[in-house]
Amino acid sequence: MSDAPLLQVRDLSVSFRSEGREVKAVRNISFDLSKGETLALVGESGSGKSSVAMAVLQLLPYPTAFHPSGSIRFDGQELVGADDRAMRKLRGARIGLIPQEPLTALNPLHKVERQVAEALRLHRGKIGREEARERVLELLKLCGVRDPVRRMASYPHELSGGQRQRVMIAMALANEPDLLIADEPTTALDVTIQKQVLDLLYELRERLGMAMLLITHDLGVVGRMADRVCVMTQGEVVEEGPVKDVFRRPKHDYTKKLIGSVPKGGPLPVEDTGSLASTDDLKVWFPIKGWFGRPRDWVKAVDGVSIDVRRGRTLGVVGESGSGKSTLGLALLRISRSEGAIRFDGEEISRRNYKAMRPLRSRMQIVFQDPFASLSPKMTVRQIVGEGLPLHFPELSRDECDAQVRQVLEEVGLGPELLDRYPHEFSGGQRQRIAIARAIVLKPDLVVLDEPTSALDMSVQAQIVELLRELQARHGLTYVFISHDLKVVRALAHDLLVMRAGKVVEQGPAEQLLENPQSDYTRELLNASLEPIA
């Protein structure tokens, strides 16, 4: 039995019933996973990779979901259609799951100890309080939870994202499973934390000899973790093989596209023609109110940052979540309250009120991270993109406005037939194009791009980066590009600014900074940034 694969999936299909129709999420896929091996399922959102993971655990919403065909054998036992009692014996005991979202996967009202111990108690029968406690402590230590004795008595909200994910891993490992399913285990985490968690998983896998089914969209994670990879798109496995072979010599077009979709190339060569916008010791402090509304303390989101955005160039602002990079962008455009001088095109604007800012608004625009939240859901594309025109160019007639909207939509690659559609009819990438169109229709000088690619699929990311570069070349735009993703920043930025906890860690020309980082933090960031091809 030893050479029989631990997990054997044959001809598996997953379909969902939706209003009388059948939606096929997974079509006839097959793969094997041996003991101690790591298999990665890679694909973009909607490719059906998470459905596979849930099918292995039989946790799909049956009977809305059903399997038209296929079998899943775990250690010789058929799982498709297995009764719930049998599945409960496997789940958490022999098959562990690390869910995607550590923020919502932990019960907010239970202490860490109780949550981890619950996994033990369920499968180990009677286990004494002291014994459980010891085991929990051991697990937390194993998973690198800092200060585990104190953390056992903490509630989930007291832990950071990375620490929470470690607790989730501890829960999944509690009963030393043979198979660990990790569904996008690091997507919600910052890059440096991502690296730590991945390193931990790798080490644990080696030590415990588990098999691992890794679900991810990130080729970097695959390259670092997996032995073999299955590339999925639209519910089908299009390519399978050892990671190195697939990455070096992709056979299928989709795999080629996926590997080619890592943003490539460098920023456009442009000359330095002076400063467009700058700040001097900029501060954005949010008060934490105590009794009677007096500020008890301050959250220093941005704490004394001086930047200089050069005309026609791209300033990349890099940092992890909570580093204040988005707040800096909002403050620069005077959407967020701030202290300290802000100059735009030679003028001091930090004291202007909302009305006095209006004439400048057409010259500085912003594109937000989440294209699903940044477009008014009840307005058509025409209304969204054209909204600012009559405000800033009252001399334009209705037809002229309309012509401009059409032209700018064409520039971002959207056809005029989409003018009267509503945002929910578009994909994420298309929405981001609409958001970019809204910003550039006013012919701005400065565009703040607040993580414009991080909510998008890989291949779409590369397209958006390409589009941004093209628009910069055509209109001589100046960008402030805010991102946590060094791969994307590298493709666009001329100058770089690394932020941490509201302060500037390092700044300078991008090339120089990436080649020869001066601070430890920058080095750590660079290190953590995953290159897909190892």
Binding site: L330, D370, A373, S374, P377, M379
Partner: protein
């Protein structure tokens, strides 16, 4: 101002109703019509309300059209003194009086009567037994304790209730939406002050307040409307406020600020349409609550002045004359139909305004 410009490449300009709606409106209407129960409720409700608006032509104690000595009279629309027909009094002719009827007959006249020859306040002196009388050929739904026709009473009562409810709902919702929008959008101190004010108003016991007010305000249609308005405009405030509080920090509102849009435009063009779904879910409930409040006040005798056609008063009579079940049944049937129709319409409307609802 918010309407979409007509699509330039549209092959044929849409006609009729749909031209006023725009593409979104058309879609909403399609979703609404797809909900059969809501759609037919709306049709039935509109027909009933339209009919009741013409109550005077359906149930009245005056002829719609009559002739006297070769001349045409329309007593429903104009007042004629009895002397016009050769009678004795300068007051308006009582066309149901046998004496007046004989006068008209003598003048070679004829008269076209409404379907039901009684208005809501006509007292029938010729009933067979003491009032209230059971349904019979003369009064298809019987008469009440003052010998008035119950069918006429419910017809006029339906009209009055719905009209009152609609007016109260529209005005109080408009005030509530604006107040909630201001609270939610500006937040901070504005929110705090308004919220405390609302809490004070809300903590007043409405019914007692109305009973006290009724003793020194002459109860009439509009004075009652005004008084109820003071206590009912807060219903929507928390809903709209919550929507605005949530939406004011969303990216699309930030994007609108980055465009330099004024506060009013951001509030009413960007946030309000998204707050409308929540608002609309409440509208049918507010409408039915308004109707119920009016009925309750009438039931207790603190509502509209005596002689107004009122379902509440009918229900009260039903309670006082338990041996005459047609009174209570009539009142109940009208209320139940009216409220159910409104809720069904409200449900369909809510679905229609949900952008994620598939056709």
């Amino acid at each position: 101002m918010n309407a979409a410009a007509p699509p330039i490449d549209a092959p044929t300009p849409p006609r009729g109703l749909s031209r006023w709606f725009g593409p979104l409106g058309r879609r909403r209407w399609a979703v609404f019509a797809a909900n059969r129960r809501g759609y037919w409720s709306l049709v039935v409700f509109l027909v009933l309300y339209a009919l009741s608006l013409g109550s005077e032509l359906i149930a009245n104690d005056k002829p719609i059209l009559m002739s006297y000595r070769g001349e045409i009279y329309a007593p429903v629309f104009a007042e004629y003194p009895e002397t016009a027909f050769g009678g004795d009094f300068e007051t308006e002719a009582d066309y149901r009086d046998p004496y007046v009827q004989r006068l008209i007959e003598d003048g070679d006249g004829w008269a076209i009567w409404p379907l039901v020859p009684f208005a809501h306040d006509t007292i029938d002196y010729e009933i067979a037994s003491p009032a209230p009388t059971a349904p019979d050929a003369r009064h298809i739904m019987g008469t009440d304790s003052q010998a008035r026709d119950v069918f006429a009473l419910t017809l006029y009562g339906f009209r009055l209730s719905v009209t009152f409810g609609l007016l109260l709902t529209l005005v109080s919702s408009a005030i509530g939406v604006v107040a909630g929008a201001i609270q939610g959008y500006f937040g901070g101190r504005t929110d705090l002050l308004l919220q405390r004010g609302i809490e004070v108003l809300q903590s007043l016991p409405i019914l007692y307040l109305l009973i006290i007010l009724a003793s020194f305000i002459v109860p009439g249609f509009f004075s009652l409307l005004g008084v109820l308005l003071v206590v009912s405009w807060m219903t929507l405030v928390p809903v709209v406020r919550a929507e605005f509080l949530r939406a004011r920090n969303l990216d699309y509102v930030r994007a609108a600020r980055a465009l330099g849009l004024g506060n009013r435009k951001i509030m009413f063009r960007h946030i309000l349409p998204n707050a409308m779904v929540a608002t609309l879910t409440f509208l049918p409930f507010i409408l039915s609550t308004s109707i119920v409040i009016l009925t309750a006040l009438d039931f207790l005798g603190f509502g509209l002045p005596r002689g107004s056609p009122s379902i509440g008063e009918l229900l009260n009579q039903g309670k006082n004359n338990l041996y005459a079940p047609w009174l209570g049944i009539a009142g109940f049937a009208v209320m139940a139909t009216m409220l159910s129709l409104l809720i069904f319409i409200g449900e369909a409307a809510r679905d229609a305004f949900d952008p994620r609802k598939a056709l």
